[in-house]
């Protein structure tokens, strides 16, 4: 998985990486997996495991958002809609169907994901009628519609929201079930992201990102593809939404539909590398941990907001393509420079072969 991340992330399979490289990549992945799985067992401090849980949630959300926005190039700034919808779906269902706390509610998260996916269909149909920057603004508008609806619709409990049933987990081990469920969702999401990335579907999305009109002229069914990616990206967000609010224990409109959520996942994906697989994961891990640390250290909202905004600006202006592509490029430049100096050292000029006339 990590090995597939080059600057363009050659989907069509570059010459097979040397077996040694593959073994190395596999090894690294296994170690990372082990760390993730063992984490809450080793580190039992609830404050830390909470942060870990939140990090996982955002890793899922950023990764899912990337499936749509990263691959297709359309920046959707309204995914909080799905987060909140998933949360509310679970909360309302738990309340009205009298579902007990704990694992039964976890099962309800599936319902949350499903509802989010269903909601994504009309939202996507409307939003995707527009292009590029109008699209972004429309997603923002739809986001505010949902926030307003949450405030005003009866069954959502209005301003005070809904309380979710308390899970029967012991205080000491409260976080662990949440953590593991989130981890499972994360693995599934990343798997889907990877599958799409290497599939024809993903390739055509990337083509849309580069030149949508030309893609259309090559027979790519752009409307269908965009909508599909949009819906697929909504489902994991809905899933973790339900989980998240169950963890917190309460959901209310301001919290469920928070503009900062949208910005956060966008920032995370940008920071790590938009359109890559590892990028959003890395970005989310770093940022969410940082965010939680900041909130716990500086209790004031203000400093946290300022720090966040400044960081965002720095990333956008300095590393417009994100850390992962930036680092990859730098490494490639070094490699190219090394190769070039090696070539200069050789006395004879190597004639560039290739088909006569084709090479200019």
């Amino acid at each position: 998985m990590t090995g597939a991340v080059t600057q363009t992330g050659d989907v069509a399979g570059a010459p097979a990486a040397a077996p040694r490289k593959r073994a190395l990549t596999l090894g690294v992945m296994l170690i990372i997996a082990a760390v993730f799985i063992a984490f809450p067992v080793v580190v039992t401090d609830p404050a830390t495991t909470s942060i870990a849980f939140f990090a996982l949630v955002f890793m899922v959300a950023a990764s899912a958002w990337n499936i749509f926005s990263g691959y297709s190039g359309y920046l959707a700034l309204g995914h909080a809609v799905f987060f909140g919808t998933g949360g509310y779906a679970v909360a309302v269902a738990a309340r009205d169907w009298h579902v007990a706390g704990g694992w039964p509610v976890f099962a309800l998260c599936l319902f949350g994901g499903l509802v989010a996916g269903l909601v994504a269909i009309p939202v996507g149909l409307v939003a995707l009628r527009t292009r590029r920057h109008t699209f972004v603004v429309v997603t923002i508008a739809i986001f505010f519609i949902f926030q307003l609806a949450a405030y005003n619709l009866g069954f959502t409990g209005g301003t005070s929201g809904i309380l979710l049933p308390l899970p029967p987990f012991s205080a000491a081990n409260f976080n662990q079930p949440f953590y593991y469920v989130a981890l499972v969702i994360l693995v599934l999401t990343v798997l889907v992201s990877w599958l799409i990335r290497r599939s024809r579907f993903g390739l055509q999305l990337l083509a849309i990102r580069d030149d949508e009109d030309r893609a259309l002229g090559l027979g790519v069914k752009t409307r269908r593809l965009k909508l599909t990616a949009f819906v697929i990206s909504a489902i994991p967000v809905g899933l973790v939404g339900g989980l998240y609010f169950d963890f917190v224990g309460q959901i209310y409109p301001q919290f469920a539909f928070d503009p900062l959520f949208d910005l956060s996942i966008a920032l995370m994906a940008f920071l790590g590398g938009l359109g890559t697989i590892v990028g959003p994961l890395l970005g989310a891990l770093v940022l969410e941990s940082l965010q939680q640390y900041l909130t716990q250290t500086f209790s004031s909202d203000a400093t946290y907001l300022i720090a966040y905004g400044v960081l965002f600006l720095a990333v956008i202006l300095v590393l417009p393509r994100g850390v992962v592509p930036g680092v990859t490029e730098w490494l490639e430049r070094r490699r190219a420079k090394a190769a070039l100096s090696a070539a200069h050292e050789r006395d004879a000029a190597v004639p560039t072969g290739g088909v006569a006339g084709a090479a200019q």
Binding site: H133, T134, A141, I145, L148, A302, T303, G309, L313, I316
Partner: protein, 294 residues
Amino acid sequence: MSFTALLQAIVDGVLTGGVYALMAAGLTLIFGVMDIINIAQGVMVILGAYLSYELSVHVGIGLLPGLLITVPLMFGVGVAIEFCFMRRLRDQDRTQMSILVTYAVAIVIEGILTAIFGVDYQQLQASYVNSSVHLLGFYLPDIYLIGFVLAIALLAGLYYMLYRTKFGRAVRSSLQNRTAADLIGIDVNRVRTLSVGIGVAVTAVGGMVFGATNSFNPNTGYDLISRLLAIVILGGMGSIGGAMAAAVFILVINDVVAVAWSPTWAPLVYFVALVIVLSFRPQGLFGRAAVRAQ
């Protein structure tokens, strides 16, 4: 709901619409000249409101005279932001990136305001804030009237500037054909900076009126920008006239719905209207279709 109540709602809508039109005009001007969507416009209105607040409460300068200070200040803020951030945006994906950048700037400003003023709601006070004029059986709150008059005056000024001054012609030509403007010797960068400055300066006035008619805190900026965006897109991005028409249109409907149905659902109207219009006419009511002059 009586007929008079309906008419009152319409009048209210028109009056507030004027003020929103002014703020939206600033937003659309910035887009037209820079291809940049300034998400921070909402929080800048709040900043303007807080500036008026500071001046009136701690320095003792009234709201109206205070504008003489806040307007140039906000102009400076606009210029600073253009210089520091907007200029660095590359031409590719410029508009999309500008959304992220200005969103971030908005957060920073919100953070600064929260640090200084806290999250308590404020409202601007003045002798005329609560009084109103009785005219033909309608209540015309003084502050709305003043705001409306100010807005109209400023919009007229904006039009004058654009169509009668040399600078205005420079702005319009940069808008219509950047290469040609360059070749004529127009300093397009300077034009852009000044346009952004103007686009933000109007928020000082909007802030004063908004702050006097609504209670606000640093968080109110989000609500505002979403309304302004809806207005600007509905009217067509880059069209000042469109922004004005859309502002009045939406505000009237908003107020009518508030009276006829429920005040809490009223803001929904903005977005529903937006979504509907965009579905059928992606460039807005008066906007140019996707391809622009250059």
